[in-house]
Symmetry: C2
Subunit: 444 residues, 2 copies
């Protein structure tokens, strides 16, 4: 059967899947947890096949690291399932209960979205994590993993679907697409798939976003900024900046651009550049920033690395760059407003921070910057569902509709309106025979 | 300047517009109200020009009715502004406040979406309504109206923008696009426009949805169903059905298809058909429904109209039809499950109702039907923001993301996360030197 036929069948079964109680869903998660643990050796063996193939194909080490599914990754997956089990059911919450007129009661209730398509590169742990999130929230899931982890994905998927079915979840509610051509087929199922969640590189996510009519939740770029204001405490600014740039450079919430208020640049920039250089960071920046560092740093010795080399002097459009590496762009600005305008224009609306002791400047920055996360005096690396206390993360969205920023389980539900009456007709209200009186009721 | 240049400028100014307080926005609404009232004769004169042109062009009467902007439409617009003035600011609400660790405070705050594009056909009152909704919610708006009301739109827009500017809203935050070619230009501004709201015919809305990467909020079809269950009280079912079909046939929430449980069809269908025929409704339906009516209704006399004529016997795919007229499709089903499956497959996920005294059947129907509104024992015509007590309606969405069903002002806001610290770094949490403790705080 083609992906389209399978997905259509999934769409038909999705209301039934949505109607299963949270006991069934939690039972399925426990069965999956037990099955993954019991069959660990099978999973590791399949993963060794994938890794051997990667070796033979000369795949880069950084990618191989993400392909690997070992004891450590399994433990993370099991802990993730435990965390999901401890979370309340995101569906079935009554968010509005209103009497429109006597005996005419409106409720707004959260319900699963329906059919979620997940397309991910390389990481087999993403398959476990996202299929469990979909099960917990009552959704059906089509999973499309990367070719590099085909063996691991197959074992994991079969274990997950088998365990879920043993707990009473219909088999049609989980589907693995394995052929590469099936990505494009899936992207065309906009009549059956309600939401797509891509997980992978920028180019990969951007491809998905540009080739489908299905709503996509996620982000391609993470061009985050740290702006050091005139009112900054340097002793706070420098460690925060170093953390934001270096704590994990491959993350989307790592800072890629440093903006500095021009009035403090002569004193702050050399200190910051030195601390960054000590942490292995190479600076790129405007000609102005390069001149300040050239004047302040000795030509020889360890601090020479804190300069900006000639080839690293940047033009305006270079500021869109996401390095995901120990490289940082630097630019000077004259005001909070100029910093915000730069961030709104060249950033990715992910997470941006101001370092300042000035309350008014902080408020202005956090209001004017149009990003999912606006921070003051802390590392941009905090932008993460676990660090926000959501317990489970679907992903981080830089879109503004539905969900923004780190998205927890509530990003996988929508709502419906339930209206119960006793024969009421609109004609009676239009004619004035009856009239509405709105009264919000306790939601039990 | 091209639409693209103007919209880019609007995008740049949008954070400033979003930062204006609700006093400024309400002052602008009051100024608009006063200006429309003061310049009523100018508006009516411009509208007479449009109507004369429509006459000359031989525009259909049903369209001309929607072009008309008279005392009555003006009064509706002014009442709409009054209603908006009485509503709370949708932006600036704190929906989460959490201590992640000592001195590290996370807040989630609602904020305007940014730049909204509104494309509407024919109705000049829509221009007033939607631009006022955007102003109330702190958004910028690009308005593209139909060619037929160009004169009226121009006067209305100039009055609205002038009054808003006098109250302190930047002029760049409101833009009227008038040339028809500008629709396609606007549809391509996905880097600057955050949300599109189309208002018009099905074909028009579908065109918008299919020709842009910008998220679209709205609905094209409204194929609503009323399902009369085995457990229905006929004396309740018939007036509700007549209201749902006939109270205002041009509305998207009017019922287009009647489903009847097979076990009651022989008794219910002839009674319902008679009542519907008396209200001018022509029935179409399956061969089975036609046979029942043929057998039950006399060949002559007034009740002969309650039959299904030979050319009105329907095939399966015909059930996707939205009549927006005094025509109703009829089909028999064997169960709540079959009714729900038909609705999910052939409906538009707008609003669907079960008529039954059986609580279990009602619950099953309301769970299995995947629509924005699931009703019991009342007319589908209740699906409307005003009838839900929202005070103002942006539109009705049949999508599942962001907003679903009738959408009030809250559909025009998103949120951002604000995180305030005192120098916290992620490294300290990764190393175990510090750890998170999540504690929700009172949101003042």
């Amino acid at each position: 059967m083609s992906v389209r036929d399978n997905v259509r069948k999934m769409k038909e079964v999705s209301p039934t899947v949505a109607s299963l109680g949270s006991e069934v869903r939690d039972r399925a998660l426990r069965a999956i947890r037990a099955s993954l643990e019991k069959h660990r050796e099978e999973i590791f063996a399949a993963n060794r096949e994938d890794l051997a193939r990667a070796d033979a194909d000369g795949i880069a080490d950084s990618v191989k690291k993400r392909l690997k599914f070992d004891e450590h990754k399994l433990a993370d997956c099991l802990a993730g399932i435990d965390s999901l089990l401890s979370l309340p059911d995101p569906a079935g919450r009554i968010t509005l209960k209103r009497e429109l007129d006597e005996g005419l009661i409106l409720e707004r209730v959260t319900v699963p979205i329906g059919v979620i398509g997940i397309i991910f590169e390389a990481r087999p742990d993403a398959l476990v994590q996202i299929s469990c999130l979909c099960i917990k929230s009552g959704n059906c899931a089509v999973l499309k993993g990367g070719r590099e982890t085909a063996s691991t994905n197959k074992v994991l998927f079969d274990l997950i679907r088998g365990a879920a079915a043993s707990a009473g979840i219909p088999e049609e509610s989980l589907l693995q697409a394995s052929a590469h051509s099936e990505i494009d087929e899936l992207l065309e199922c906009d009549d059956c798939v309600d939401l797509l969640i891509p997980r992978g590189s920028n180019a990969f996510v951007r491809y998905i976003m540009e080739h489908t009519k299905i709503p996509v939740m996620g982000h391609s770029d993470g061009v985050c900024h740290t702006y050091v204001d005139a009112g900054a405490d340097f002793s706070l600014a420098i460690p925060v900046l170093v953390d934001a740039k270096t704590q994990y450079t491959a993350a989307c919430n790592a800072t890629e651009t440093l903006l500095v208020h021009r009035s403090i640049a002569d004193s702050f920039l050399p200190q910051a550049a030195k601390a960054l250089a000590e942490n292995g960071v190479r600076l790129r920046g405007t000609a102005e920033a390069a001149r300040i560092l050239e004047a302040a740093c000795p030509a020889e010795g360890p601090d020479a690395a804190a300069k900006i080399a000639g080839e690293d002097v940047m033009g305006e459009e270079d500021f869109r760059r996401e390095y995901l590496d120990l490289v940082l762009s630097v630019k000077l600005v004259d005001s909070v407003e100029e910093a915000a305008a730069h961030i709104n224009r060249f950033g990715s609306h992910h997470t941006d921070c101001i370092i300042t002791e000035d309350d008014e400047a902080a408020e202005r920055f956090m209001t004017l910057v149009d990003s999912a996360g606006v921070y003051r005096n802390c590392s941009t690396r905090f932008a993460d569902g676990f660090r926000y206390g959501f317990g489970a993360e679907v992903g981080i969205s830089t879109g503004k509709l539905h969900a923004r920023g780190p998205v927890g389980l509530e990003g996988l539900v929508t709502y419906k309106y339930r209206l119960q009456g006793h024969g009421q007709t609109v004609g009676d209200y239009a004619s004035g025979k009856r009239s509405f009186h709105f009264r919000d009721l306790a939601r039990e």
